[in-house]
Symmetry: C2
C-alpha cells in the first residue's frame, strides 16, 4: 500500500510538475508576443504598403511577396508558393444607383457596391422599378410582382443574435440574386450585412444558381437601405431606378498559397497547419479580414523561434489564396496534401477578426475534444477558455477541406466578435481599426493551443 | 409518497417555469436595448454637445443639465440634484517641456500634460536636470542624486498583466510626485499609464503626501518617454530641462450628483443604486471614462420603462460628481443615505469602459455571492458569466462608500478591457472610439443583474 501510494504521489507530482511546466511555457510564449510582438507592425505594412488583395488583382501578387518576406523574417525554415488557379473578378469603375426621373439631377443617389462574382449591368445599366421585400418568404409570396423588376432585399442584421447575426443575414447576399432571378427579376439590391448603421456599403461574394439567369447584384449601405425603403413608400414607388455596375468575371488566373514551415524535431511527418487567408475584398485594406489571421499565424512561428522552442511536429503557416470568392487555395492545399499522402494532425484558422479572444470552435472527434477540454485551464488566465465542440465539424473555410479529406481536427479562433461586422468587406476594414493588444492576445492563445497539440498530439 | 412526489414535481416545475420566465424577461430587456437602445445617441450628445466635464469647469454644469434632461427623457419619476463641494483644479494654458540649450530652437520639445491636482510651476517654470528612474526602488537607491532635479518615472505599462497593468503602473502617477519630493526633487515627469505606444499623453490625479513639498507633475506620452530616455543617454544627460505648467488648485466649488429614480412597487424603501461618474478629465470628451457608465445606467431605466417592467424596489440612477480628483460625490451620496437612514440593498457601477462585457466583480458576503452564482446561467448566453468574488470588497470608487457605511453588496461591471487604457484620460477618449453594440451589451447585462436583484433581493 505504501509503495502504491508513493507511486501514485510520484505520478501526481509528475503531472503537477508537467502542468506548471506547460503554464510556464505558455506564459513565456505569450509574454514574448505581448511585449515584443511583431504582428501589429507586420499588419501595418500589409495594409499600408500592399492594401487590398482581391484574387487576380495586382494586390494579390504584392500580398504574396509580402507573405514570403514576412514568413522568412519570422524564421520559417522553408518558405514556398503553392500554385492554384483563382477566379479573377474585377469591379471596374464606380457603381451608379439612383432613381431616374424626368429631372435626373433632382433624383437621389445611393451608395452601393457590386457584390463579388456578380455580372455587370452592361454599359446601358438596368432601368426598372424596385420592389422591396423583407425576406425570402415575402419574395415567394409576391413572386407574381417580381418579373422585370429590381428586387431589394432589406433584411436587417439581427443584433440580438450576437454571433449568429451574420449567418442569418448573409443568405440574402449569397443567394438573393438567383432567388430573385427565378421569378424574372433583372437585378438585386441587398442591404449590407452589418451591425453598423452608416453610409458604408459592404460587399462580399454571391453564388449564382446555374438554373437561373445571372443577374447583377449590389450591396447598399444600411443608411441608404432605410432611405431607399422610405422613398419606395412615397411617390418614388412607381419611378424607375437606374443601376449601373461595371464588374465582370474574367478568365481564371494564377494565384498561390504562401507557406512557411518549421520542421518538427521528433515527428516531422506530422503536420500542424495554422493560417488565415491572403486575399481580401477591394474596398478596404483587408485588415481584419483577414490580415489579422495572417499576422497572428506568422507571429506564432516568430515567437517559437524567439524563445527557442523547437516544435516536435512540423508547423506550417499557410496564407491561403482566394478564400473570399472561390476557396481555391483551401481546396488546393488539401488536394496536394492528399497527393503527397501527408499526415495532417491538426489545423487552426483565424478568420473572425481580431477582437478579444474567447476561445476556440473545435471540430473533431469526442475523444479528441475530451483531451482538448483538459487544457482549458491554460486558457483561463487569458479569459479565452470558451470552447465549443462540433463533432467532425469544420474550423473555418480554409481548413475545412482538410477535415473532409483527412478528418483533421480543427480549431477556429473565436473572439468577442461584435465590432468585426462593422468593417467587414468595406472601406473601413483598415489598420486603424485593429487594436494591438487584442491582436497579440489572439496570437498568444493560438500559440498556446498549437504548443499543446505539438507537445501532446491529439 | 405519491403526494410528496407530486409536490416535488410541482415545485420543480415551478422553479423551471420561474427560470424560463426570468430568461424570457432578461431577453426582453436585452432585445429592447440591443434593438432600440438610446445609449449610443445619448453618449453622442454628451460627448459632442457637452464635452469634457472636469469638476468645477463649465462643462461640469453643462453635464449636470444633460443628466437631468436625459434621466427625465428615460422615464425617471423623480429627478434631482444632490449638492456637494468639489475641488476646482484648472489646467490653464498649454504645458511646455523641452531641453533648454544655448540654441533653444534646436532643443527637442516633448508632449506632456500636467497631472490633475498638481501645483503649477509658476510663470518662470522649472529648470533642472532630469534623472530617469525605472521605479520606486531605483529612486530609493539613487536618492542622493535626486535633490534639485526633475525625476522622470519611466515605468512601462506591463501588458502581460492584462487587467492588472493599470493598478501596477498607476502608482507612479498617484504617488510619484511626493516620493520624489521626499528626496528634494523639484518636479516629476511620469510616463503615461497606457498600453498604447503613441504621442498622446494621459493625465489623471496625483495625491500629495502632506509630509513633503508639493512639486509640479506632468505625464509624458509613451513615445516621448522613450525619446526622452534616449536623449538622457546621450549628450543631453547634462543639459537642463525646462518644464512649465500653468495649472492651479482653486477654492472648492459647488457640484452635484444627478439622480433619477423609479419608486419600487412593493419595497419602495429598499434602494438599488446604479451609476457612473459625470466628471471627466479635460483633454478628451470623457466618452469611455465615464460617459459610457452614465448612458448604460440611464438605459436600464429607459428599457424597464419601455417594456413596462415595474421594479419592486426603488431603482436609483446616480451620475456621481467628482470621481476623478476627489470622490466627493460618492462620499456625499453615502453620507446623505446615512443621514436619511436609507436602506441600500445593492449598488452597481460601470467605470471600466465599454468593451465586451465579461461579467461582474462582486463585493459582498459569501451568502450573498452564493445566491448571485445561481444566476450565472442567465449571463452565459451573453458570454458575460465571469463573476469574481471579494468578500466585503468594493465594486468601484463611487459605490465603495456605501459598502463602508452599510455593507451594501456591490457589483462592478467588468469588460474585456484591453482597449480602455489606450484612450483613458487623454485627448482620444472620444465618442468615435465607442462601439454601439458593445455599449448596449454592457447595458443589457447590467440590466439583467438589476432585474434579478430587484426581483429576488440579495
Amino acid at each position: 500500500m505504501k509503495i502504491v501510494a508513493s507511486i501514485a504521489l510520484l505520478f501526481i507530482a509528475a503531472v503537477a510538475y508537467s502542468q506548471s511546466d506547460d503554464s510556464a511555457m505558455i506564459k513565456r510564449i505569450s509574454d514574448e508576443i505581448l511585449l515584443r510582438g511583431k504582428a501589429h507592425d507586420n499588419l501595418k505594412i500589409l495594409c499600408k504598403s500592399v492594401g487590398q488583395r482581391l484574387s487576380g488583382s495586382p494586390g494579390m501578387y504584392k500580398g504574396e511577396e509580402w507573405g514570403l518576406k514576412t514568413l522568412k523574417e519570422a524564421g520559417a525554415e522553408k518558405v514556398y508558393l503553392q500554385e492554384c488557379m483563382v477566379p479573377h473578378w474585377v469591379r471596374g469603375a464606380e457603381e451608379e444607383a439612383r432613381f431616374k426621373t424626368g429631372n435626373r439631377s433632382a433624383a437621389p443617389a445611393f451608395t452601393v457596391l457590386a457584390l463579388g462574382n456578380s455580372v455587370g449591368t452592361g454599359k446601358e445599366g438596368v432601368l426598372a422599378q424596385v420592389i422591396e421585400v423583407k425576406n425570402f418568404d415575402e419574395l415567394d409570396r409576391r413572386k407574381e410582382e417580381v418579373k422585370g423588376k429590381i428586387v431589394f432585399f432589406n433584411y436587417p442584421f439581427n443584433k440580438t443574435l450576437l454571433r449568429g447575426a451574420y449567418g442569418d443575414a448573409v443568405r440574402y447576399r449569397g443567394g438573393g440574386a438567383s432567388a430573385a432571378a427565378k421569378y424574372g427579376a433583372v437585378a438585386v439590391i441587398v442591404r449590407s450585412v452589418t451591425a453598423a448603421y452608416d453610409d458604408n456599403p459592404h460587399t462580399g461574394a454571391l453564388r449564382y444558381n446555374d438554373s437561373f439567369p445571372k443577374i447583377p447584384a449590389v450591396a447598399i449601405s444600411t443608411m441608404d437601405a432605410e432611405s431607399l425603403s422610405n422613398y419606395l413608400k412615397g411617390k418614388y414607388a412607381i419611378e424607375k431606378f437606374f443601376l449601373k455596375t461595371n464588374c465582370a468575371m474574367l478568365a481564371d488566373t494564377i494565384g498561390h498559397n504562401v507557406i512557411g514551415e518549421i520542421r518538427g524535431t521528433e515527428f516531422p511527418d506530422e503536420i500542424i497547419t495554422v493560417g488565415g487567408h491572403l486575399d481580401s475584398w477591394d474596398p478596404g485594406e483587408g485588415a481584419s479580414d483577414d490580415g489579422t489571421g495572417l499576422v497572428q499565424s506568422i507571429e506564432i512561428l516568430r515567437a517559437f523561434n524567439a524563445i527557442g522552442y523547437k516544435p516536435k511536429r512540423t508547423i506550417r503557416v499557410v496564407l491561403f489564396a482566394n478564400e473570399e470568392n472561390g476557396g481555391r487555395g483551401a481546396t488546393k492545399y488539401a488536394e496536394e496534401a492528399k497527393l503527397k499522402n501527408e499526415k495532417h494532425i491538426m489545423a487552426m484558422e483565424s478568420d473572425g477578426g481580431s477582437e478579444y479572444p474567447r476561445g476556440f470552435g473545435c471540430g473533431m472527434t469526442k475523444e479528441q475534444y475530451a483531451k482538448v477540454e483538459t487544457w482549458k485551464k491554460y486558457f483561463t488566465p487569458y479569459d479565452a477558455d470558451k470552447f465549443s465542440f462540433s463533432e467532425g465539424g469544420g474550423g473555418g473555410a480554409d481548413i475545412g477541406p482538410l477535415q473532409t479529406l483527412f478528418k483533421t481536427p480543427q480549431f477556429g479562433l473565436n473572439t468577442t466578435g461584435q465590432r468585426y461586422f462593422d468593417m467587414h468587406h468595406s472601406a473601413i476594414d483598415t489598420f486603424e481599426n485593429i487594436n494591438a493588444q487584442e491582436l497579440n492576445l489572439c496570437a498568444s492563445v493560438m500559440a498556446a493551443m498549437l504548443y499543446l497539440v505539438d507537445k501532446y498530439g491529439l
